[in-house]
Structures are given as C-alpha cells and as structure tokens.
Amino acid sequence: MSEKKVISGAEGVAIAVKLCKPKVLPMYPITPSTLVPEKLSEFVFNGEIDSKMIHVESEHSAISALYGAYATGVRSFTATASQGLALMHEILPIVSGSRFPAVMFVANRALSGPLSIWNDHSDSMSERDQGWIQLHCESNQEAFDTIIMAYRIAESKKVLLPVMVCADGFYLTHAYEPIQIEDQEKVDAFLPDYTPEHYLDTTNPKTFGAFAQPNSYMEFKEEEEKAMREAIREIIKVSKEFDKSFGRKYGNGLVEGINLEEAEYAVLGVGSVCGTIREVIKELNEQGKKIGLIKLKSIRPLPVEDLKILCKDLKILGVIDKHASIGFGGALTNDIRSALMGEKVKVEGFVAGLGGRDINKEKIKELINTIMKNKEGYWLK
C-alpha cells in the first residue's frame, strides 16, 4: 500500500529500485552510497525481491557485471560514488555505446586528492561525456521518483541509453525525510517489463562489443548523440506521465524555473543546494528583490532550448559549480555559457561547495550581491 515513511535518502533509493524489479545487482560498497547495497541485500535476503546480488571485488567489476547482465537481456542496477565511479570510467562508454539502458545511482562525493568523503559533483561531472544521461535530485522524494522515471527513460526504444541518477552524498543519502512510497501495482503499470533489443542467446548467436573500423565508428557515436537529443523529448514525456500516475513533477523533468517571471538576476543550481537557494530567494523576494532560481536536473542531455527560454529576460545568471575543471573554471559554468552563447544574459560562475564545504544562505546571498553589482564570479569559499 502507498504510504509515507520517514527514511534516509539511500533507503528511499533502495526501495525505489526494489519496486523496479531488477534481476541482477552487482554491488561494491563505497561511502556515501553504501546504504543502498546494504538495504538491497536485506531485500534479497528476506526474499522481498527476486534478484541475484553479486558481491564483486571492485567497482570496475560492478559495472562490468552490470554490462554482462544487460547483455543477457535483463534489467539491472548498481550504485557507487567518487573513486568508485572513477574506477568504472573505462566501462561507462562501453555500456552506453552498447546501448544498454542501465540505471546507476551515484551518491555524489568529491574525488580524492586530498581524500574527502564529503559531497561535491566532481565524480559525476567528470563522467558527463560518456554517453550516460545524468539526472540530479534536490530531495529524497525526487531521488525515489527519479529512479523509477530513469528506467522508463533509459528503456524507451527511442533512447536506449544508460542513466545515472545523482543525489548529493550525505546531504540527501543520509538525511531522513518523509518519502511517499508508491504501490507495486502502480509502479508496474508505469514501468512495463523490459524487452531487450538484443541479448545473448545460444540459439541465435550474436556478437557484442564488436570492433568498429574508421568507416563506421563515427556513425555509431552519432547514433548515440541522436539518442541523447531524443532523450530530451522522452524525459519531458516520462515526467508528464509520472505526474499523471503519481502526482509529482520536477519542472519539465529536465529543468525548472522558479520566480523567473519578473527576475533580472537568477541563480542556477544543481541538486540539494537548490533547497537553500529557494529559501534565500523567498526572503529576498519578500524584500522586493526580484531574484529567480533555475534548478537544472538534467546535465546530460543539457536542455539548451529550455535554458534559453528561461533566461530570456535575465541580465545576469550566477551558476553554482560543485566541480572545477582545473585550468578553466567551473565545468558546469562553461557548459551553461556555451548553451547561452548569443543570448543577452551574462553568465558568471561560482565554484563552491567542493569537498563538502557548506553552501549556506550567507554564501548564496553573497553570490547574489556579486551578480547584482555586475561583478565577476569567483571561488565562493
């Protein structure tokens, strides 16, 4: 029965995964994603889920086994964070290039050097070019819902690309919030069984992971790019249907504009920081300052057209970047700037929150003051 439960974000993710009925769960624990495999192994042990859990020896093996599971044609799942995702790097483009609609949960955590277990977006942002759809979440309910939507989006015949569902480590994974847990029947109705395009079958042998010569490699990559563009439409469609079935939505599924109607200045954020930005702009709006928020949910595909529309009346957009492309500022800022090239809005980048540095209300106010004074962005420490 549908019920509201106060649980951790990670438990919410595990329950959402259970409702999607994956057949194979190759898992390797890493902070702050560990609670997800922990909960899932409990479900497997208790017979609450009919899945095979594989205790692999590394994240490289976890993603390789995920690839193997999809080659046999079954829905599967894994979760990771930080160095774990970095260790998976080699296999990430093989999963997407094979057009396997896998879903992986990333509990965003800083990459080492120096070692940090705390949150930023350096892990997933460093993998944004590997052909995975990347959807971020502001709340635990959104993480729960995004897992379910992710399978629908990935498995759409028009898309067939893997999805990383990203949620901020600790800020969301370890935070307890009420989550509406949906009924199995309702999830089943929303998410039909997975029917693979190709799978390993001894009676009908096929070659997976084949070699492509220079005369075809580019065409296969171009197909991925087309699928990623198709994903823009598909995410909007799935988000609408999710809203119809469950009564919740997150912008159009890609991006959400808040208080932009009369705003000349706005802040763009990704993930849990949007909650704090909402609070700040509410206060400032009450003081008569017209500040808006752009909550970017989808890093890939980047909803360029939506961003242009949302920013059309803005003077300056301040981007909060939780990952620095060392040597060329914030990676997200660079993306947003090129997406808005030729538009009248000016984009200022603020690298912030690295390695778990708190982005509190004061810092967001400082950012807003800076853009309102038409000053350049900087490392907001």
């Binding site: 290039g97 094979s98 396997f100 395009e197 190709h198 096929k206 997976f208 005369n215």
Partner: protein
C-alpha cells in the same frame, strides 16, 4: 588502403549498440594483408601432428580431406607462431613481397 576505400562504399548496418546479428562475420575481414613474413609449410618434412593448426591464433591453418595441413593466406597475419611450435621444423618463412 584499397580495402578501406572499398569498405567505405559498402553500406554498414547501424545495429543498435553495434551488435553483429549474424555469426561468422570475421570471415569477411581478410587480415592477410597485415603480413610482413610469410610462413611456408614443407609438406615433405611435415609429420601431420597438427600443432601449427592448434596454435595458429587466427585459425588460418586448415586440414585438407587428405590430412594435409595448409595455410589460408587470405587470413594468415604472419606471426610465425606455427613456425615456432612445429616439432620437426617443417615451417620456414620469407619476407612477404608486396
């Protein structure tokens, strides 16, 4: 270079995920032109043990109905593993003339 230009004109099917849906497609890919050295079997010396046939990494050695071991030069890459494993030195090589 000739092979590449020819292949370019062929219409390569863009299967989802670059899956090859028909078995045996490797046969279409003739690797013989990679060869620098060409192995030659001296049938007089050969004792038909089949070691070269078992060890050829490209499956380029085949057995005729009469039990002779021969090399299919359309696929032989000239690695000379066959020469190395032959117990009676029945295989020698020359530099391939192109």
């Amino acid at each position: 270079m000739k092979v590449k230009e020819k292949e370019k004109k062929e219409n390569i099917p863009l299967t989802c995920g670059a899956v090859i849906t028909q078995p045996g497609s490797t046969k279409k890919y003739k690797t013989g032109e990679w060869r620098t050295f060409i192995p030659i079997i001296d049938q007089e010396k050969c004792i038909k043990c089949g070691k070269c046939w078992m060890n050829c990494p490209d499956g380029a050695i085949f057995k005729t109905p009469e039990g002779k071991f021969m090399i299919n030069y359309a696929y032989c890459k000239g690695c000379l593993i066959c020469e190395k494993v032959c117990p009676v030195k029945a295989i020698s090589h020359k530099v391939e003339e192109k």
